[in-house]
Chain length 316, copies 2
């Protein structure tokens, strides 16, 4: 049996990324009900909001689901208390050191996956005793690694000498990209951008429209002096670019960034002044289906692509 | 039969990139003799040098080979005259508009592939009547697109609505990355970085050693204000970075770049002051085999990986 399916008790080795302002209970429960693993994006929730989202997810699905938890928030202990008290069984940690929290979560019966963007962190994940690793390439939306390693280069590097279950992320939106990632050495995939433009996504309709409108080159990895993040190009990103072009300091950039830019863009729908975190896969997305249809289409294309490997194109 | 194998008359759909200062007659003929398609890198050759390289390649192999020709050099007509007069049958054009030269080359019995880094240029290639398209992702070494589209995102986009034979490039160095690229929709792959560190490569030994020493994050896409290029990080790149950080103008950057940086680094072996063009795959390379062994290892891994797709990991 596929190791990730076995580890999480899911039908398909397909995980929906736990994205801030996008991955609420509607999306996570719809994905889990369709045979994938739905994740709540705790990064944009206060502890009470997270508790409510978990309770609503439990009411909406009997299937396994999880929580994505960035390890950088001030309320972290409160978030973890909520997660443990509500009986969540799967946590994806990101943006921090897995050493601190992995064993505490596991002691509460929770399976822990940790997200990395650099294969050098594989050893830290192994030392922390995580149950699985998510390796996320440069083409992914949102926060991103400084080394700019792409999925094609990152997955073989993360796989090398590593025996843990491995989940590929970044640029994966279809059955073929899923199969390609697994050929590279992944056991499963995490898909974000495709689910932003889904019926159940909590993204503001304007943000969903911006994803449909995105073409090649519409996204850019920016704010490299602070924390690199891939965003849709808009007025805000142009201001950041201009500031960086004239050699602005970190302080200037922080002031320009201000507070609440992500909420402004993705939740409130100000697509010019807000941050719109999205991956390069946005250029391939031109509709807003249900999550159930997204998953069935991906799995069907995956199976067809796998059978097509018997085609003469692959033979020599 | 695989379309690229048929188009070029080769055994394996594996093309060795025609890299400046690296891809001379020794490398191209060794690759062609091993069943791939060897390409001469005309971008660092004067017309007379190109003629000599072609003649030596013809003497060293009876198999098909080709020439990579950047369409930006002042001597372009002379290069093309040499190519036609010497009876070369395959040309890969890059860094320019395929419209101008494709039909002239084809009229001389030459098959033409054109390199793009942005799927929006597929239509231009089709209109120009090229025989094949090379789509090269952000992880590739050397000159690169402004959109920073990675191979995982670029190949599906280049494949969509395009029926021409498609060659994937960028991040491909092994049988698994080759198979993954073909799953994404490519008919063949072009491999550069892996052949820099080969016995027959014309790269200076210091440059080869720098490739072996490269780890994750050792390369960077730089000179974005001029023409983006992926290089190994060294003193020169740090100067460029510092200039860009303080908001240097294009004129300043051009002066810093100066002349002959690529020759200085890759041909003369000054690994601190020269340009060392290499892809992200360099992090996975730790030996300098013969091109014959590189190709047989890649093909063996490809075949094993294709058979392993029957493994339970792919089944659900």
């Amino acid at each position: 049996m596929n190791r990730i399916c076995k580890l999480f008790g899911i039908k398909y080795p397909l995980i929906q990324g736990g994205m801030i302002w996008v991955s609420g209970w509607e999306l996570a429960s719809a994905v889990s009900n369709a045979g994938g693993l739905g994740l709540l994006g705790a990064g944009s929730m206060y502890p009470d909001e997270l508790r409510e989202a978990i309770q609503k997810t439990k009411a909406a699905t009997t299937q396994p689901f999880g929580v994505n938890l960035p390890l950088i928030y001030p309320d972290l202990e409160k978030h973890i208390e909520v997660i443990i008290n509500e009986g969540v069984k799967i946590v994806f940690t990101s943006a921090g050191n897995p050493k601190t929290w992995t064993s505490k979560l596991q002691a509460a019966g929770i399976k822990v996956a940790h997200v990395i963007a650099n294969s050098k962190f594989v050893a830290k994940c192994e030392a922390a005793g995580v149950d699985a690793i998510v390796a996320e390439g440069f083409e992914a939306g949102g926060h991103n690694g400084r080394e700019e390693t792409t999925t094609m280069a990152l997955i073989p590097a993360a796989r090398r000498n590593n025996v843990l279950p491995l989940i590929a992320a970044g640029g994966i939106f279809s059955g073929r990209t899923m199969l390609a990632s697994m050929v590279l050495g992944a056991d499963a995939v995490q898909i974000g951008t495709r689910f932003v433009a889904s019926q159940e996504s909590a993204a503001h309709p304007n943000f969903k429209q911006a994803v449909l409108d995105a073409t090649e080159g519409s996204t850019k990895l920016t704010l490299k002096q602070l924390i690199p993040v891939r965003l849709i190009k808009n007025d805000f990103l142009q201001q950041v670019d201009e500031a960086e072009m004239r050699g602005a300091s970190k302080e200037e950039l922080n002031e320009l960034l201000g507070r609440g830019r992500a909420k402004l863009g993705m939740h409130e729908g100000d697509t010019e002044n807000g941050e719109l975190e999205i991956g390069q896969a946005s250029m391939m997305i031109d509709n807003i289906p249900s999550s159930k249809n997204i998953i069935s289409d991906i799995i069907l294309e995956y199976k067809v692509a796998r059978e097509q490997m018997q085609h003469v194109r692959f033979e020599f």
